[in-house]
Symmetry: C2
Subunit: 287 residues, 2 copies
C-alpha cells in the first residue's frame, strides 16, 4: 500500500447540551485548543481552510460559527462550502476550493448526508488523493464529520439496546482511514455497546470512541496522538477468543471474550499498524 | 482460605423506567426467570425466603411487591425484614429470621443504607458465616442489593464525567465477595466509565457490570453463570500494562492500556479464580 502523507483529525464533538446547541459551534471549543491544533497542523493562520457543513441541518449557522471560531484564532483564509447535493460536489467552485485548501473541516450533524452528497463525487476523489499524496494536507471533522472518515461507518444505533445484535446501523463512509470505526460523543451518550457491536462485526478493524472536546491527530494513516480535555477509548478486537456476532440472531445478546480496551488521554499515542499504546509521562505538559 | 459453600445471586436491576418504577418490583421480572432461579437455588417453593428492603426509600411497597412476586412463583414461606437501623439488625426477630432463612433477598435503592444499617451487626456476621459454611444457602440482591455484596462497593458516581479521576465514589460493602466490584443498571445508565475507574483504583479486583434483568449465579465464591435476558460485562485489570490512577490528580482524564473486557450473556460461565470465560454453544437452550 502507498504510504499516506496527509493528516486526519477526527474530533468527538463539542460538549453535549442537546441537539440544537450541539450543532452550534461555541467558542468554548477553541479555548480547549482543539481548533488551534487543526490550524497548526494545516500550516498556521495563513492556511486555506474550507469548512463543509453538509452534515448539519442548520448549515448556514454552523458555517458562520466556524468562520467566527477560525477568525478568533487569527485565520485569514476561510471559506464555507455548503454542499447540499451531489451536483454541488461537482461544481467548479467546490473543485477549486478543495484543490486549493490546506485544511478541510467537516461539521457535525448526520454523517449519512456526507456519504450521500459527497461520496463518489469529484471532490471526494480529490480529498482522497490529496490526503494520500500531500504532506501537511489536513482533513478534520467533528462528530458526524469524524465518523464519516471511516469506510465502515456507524450511521446510528441505540445506546440503551447495546450489546444486542442489530442495535448498531452501519453505512459507507468516505474511506479515508479504512482501518478504523470511529464513534463520537462517546462518554456522555454512553456508546460503548454500539462500538463493541461494530467491532464484533468487523473484528479486523479498530474501534475509536472519541469523547466530547477530544480528538486524534493521525499522521501517515498510522501514528495517532490524543488532543483535548477528554479521552479516546480504543477497542481492539484482534485479541478476541470468542465472538458470536456472525451466527447470532438479530435481537439476541452478544458474547465476546477477551476484547482489549485502552483508555487514552491528552498526549497519549497509538500506533494503528502495531496496535500499541505509548503513554505520556505523568509530569508532561498538556499538549 | 476456607472454601465457600453458599451461593450469591447479584442482579442488575429491573428494566429502568425511572426512580419510582425502578424500586417498584414489577412482575415482568419474574417472567424473565431471574426470581425463578433464585427460588430454585434456595431449594424450591418450600424455602424460607427473607426479603430485606433496607436500601429502598419505599421499603413497605417494595416488600409487598416482593411478597407478590415470590407468591406468584408458588413460594409459601416469605418474610419481610424491614431493617431501618443498626438496632433493628440486632433484634431477636431479625436474628431468628436470618438463622432460619434458606434465601435472603436484598432489594434495590441506596446501597450505602445497607452498609450503614446492617454492616458490622449480628445479622451481617450471621449472613457471612452461613454463606461460607452452608451449601444451598442463597444471598440474592438486585441493584443496590447486588452492589453491596462487594467489599469495595461503588456508592455512586457520574456516568457523564466518567474516566475522570474522582468520578466514582467507593464505600464499604458487606464483603461477601471481596474479589469483585459490582455495578448494576449497566447498559441503560452507561456505567462503563465508573466501573473502569473502580477497576483502575483496585486493579487486583474484577469489575462485573450487570445489565438490567440480568444476574449471575455465583457458586463457591468462584463459578459464575449468567442468567436473564441481558449481558454481564467483565473488566479484568490484571492485563493492564499502564494505569496512572494512583498518581493522577482528581478531575484529570485517566490513561489505562490493555484492559481486558468480556461481554457475557445467558448461560455463559466465568471462573473468578482462573479469570476464564466458558461460553455456551450457540444452539443451547436459554437457561
Amino acid at each position: 500500500m502507498q504510504k499516506i502523507k496527509g493528516t486526519l483529525i477526527p474530533i468527538g464533538g463539542n460538549e453535549d447540551k442537546g441537539i440544537e446547541e450541539e450543532e452550534m459551534y461555541t467558542l468554548e471549543f477553541i479555548e480547549e485548543g482543539i481548533l488551534y491544533h487543526v490550524v497548526k497542523e494545516a500550516g498556521g493562520i495563513e492556511a486555506n481552510i474550507v469548512v463543509i457543513p453538509t452534515a448539519s441541518s442548520i448549515p448556514i449557522e454552523v458555517g458562520e460559527n466556524y468562520l467566527t471560531a477560525f477568525a478568533t484564532l487569527g485565520c485569514k483564509n476561510i471559506e464555507i462550502l455548503d454542499i447540499r447535493s451531489k451536483e454541488d460536489s461537482e461544481s467548479e467552485r467546490a473543485i477549486a476550493l478543495i484543490k486549493n485548501a490546506n485544511c478541510v473541516m467537516f461539521s457535525g450533524g448526520d454523517q449519512s448526508k456526507i456519504t450521500d452528497k459527497i461520496g463518489g463525487t469529484t471532490i471526494h476523489k480529490l480529498l482522497v488523493d490529496r490526503y494520500k499524496d500531500e504532506e501537511g494536507f489536513v482533513i478534520a471533522g467533528t462528530s458526524a464529520g469524524a465518523m464519516a472518515m471511516a469506510n465502515d461507518m456507524i450511521a446510528g444505533g441505540s445506546a440503551t439496546e447495546s450489546f444486542i445484535k442489530g442495535a448498531v446501523n452501519m453505512y459507507n463512509g468516505l474511506g479515508l482511514i479504512p482501518e478504523l470505526i470511529i464513534d463520537t460523543h462517546f462518554i456522555r451518550r454512553g456508546r460503548f455497546g454500539r462500538q463493541s457491536e461494530a467491532v464484533a462485526k468487523h473484528p479486523e478493524l479498530l474501534g475509536f470512541g472519541l469523547a466530547e472536546d477530544t480528538g486524534m491527530i493521525i499522521k501517515n494513516g498510522n501514528e495517532c496522538t490524543v488532543i483535548g480535555s477528554g479521552m479516546v477509548i480504543v477497542f481492539d478486537g484482534s485479541t478476541l477468543t470468542h465472538n458470536n456476532e456472525k451466527i447470532l440472531k438479530e435481537g439476541t445478546p452478544m458474547t465476546m471474550a477477551n476484547l482489549t480496551v485502552h483508555v487514552l488521554s491528552n498526549g497519549d499515542q497509538y500506533s494503528i499498524k502495531n496496535r500499541t499504546v505509548t503513554v505520556l509521562p505523568i509530569e508532561a505538559d498538556f499538549i
